[in-house]
Subunit: 179 residues, 2 copies
């Protein structure tokens, strides 16, 4: 491989490995994606393993995560028993499925528990503590709904539409700061 391309690959492996770990996907998953993302042709499991200097077993497990998130596609060549992998390049779609499959269930679970907490608080016998608890749990629920609204709305748009909206918002003076 071209030396400069090798450096480019190295830098991207570092970059995406880091991001991937940050988002809770594990470093290897991001590194694998980086390798596939820069390849002009599908790579076999062993090729990926060799690029990253890790074992096949390691790749086998990590790649499943990536497939489940729609970040990697599996393909085959006729007359070849090996399995080949390709990076999904549509980041918007990836964002969709990551939020849908990883973040949404986590949020839903938490939201359920907050609701439960709220129900308990309501049943407590009157006291200043109860007052504070009920009030704050309501505020928390509302915040969750706001976040959910933002994410849902954002994902309902295509990137081009979003860019337009962002431009619009930047232009609008937003005078009403002291609401």
């Amino acid at each position: 491989m071209d030396e400069k391309l090798g450096s480019a690959q190295g830098a991207l492996i570092q970059a995406l490995g880091r991001q991937s770990a940050f988002w809770g996907l594990g470093k290897t998953a991001g590194e694998m994606y980086a390798v596939l993302y820069l390849s002009d042709e599908p790579l076999s499991l062993e090729e990926v393993a060799r690029s990253l200097k890790v074992t096949k077993g390691n790749i086998s497990i990590a790649i499943r995560q990536l497939e489940q998130l729609g970040m990697v596609k599996r393909s085959r060549k006729i007359g070849d028993r090996r399995v080949f992998f390709t990076a999904e390049t549509d980041f918007w779609q990836i964002a969709h499925s990551v939020l849908e499959l990883r973040h949404k269930p986590e949020f839903a679970e938490t939201f359920t528990m907050v609701n439960e907490s709220y129900k308990y608080a309501e049943q407590a016998k009157p006291s200043p503590e109860k007052g504070i608890a009920v009030e704050r749990l309501q505020a928390l629920q509302e915040f969750y709904r706001l976040i959910d609204g933002i994410v849902e709305t954002t994902l309902s748009m295509r990137p081009e539409q979003l860019k337009r909206i962002i431009k619009m918002i930047k232009i609008i003076p937003l005078k009403e700061k002291g609401e």
Copy 2:
């Protein structure tokens, strides 16, 4: 403490501990915040430690994180050597500082490395591989800029303004799906 309030607290501790871990803050930090969030008065370090059945040292370290993120305020009472803690209840402000202090530096670092990767790829000698690499690294850079724009714009608004925008977007038919 009222039994129901105890249950409410337990549920919230679970909920926020979970979320906190999910966002990379560590379980204890979220649990501490939950305890403070439901309290109608500032709590001492030892009271928090007792509520969660962990050691003081543990709390001492975790609370520093929360302070740095602006999620908890420290206060004192005259004639009392103890330090008391209060939960910041403005989630919007918390979102701001968490994104600013935790996510932004991480993104900036990654973005720098992606740029570096791009520069290397440009310097490679012409080949199909190079073509793919340059093209894709550009796409990745653009995606990063989009995400950054979304976050910056979102944070530049007050929650009320955001809600209005979200409502607007939901009403607009967005016919142009096949762009």
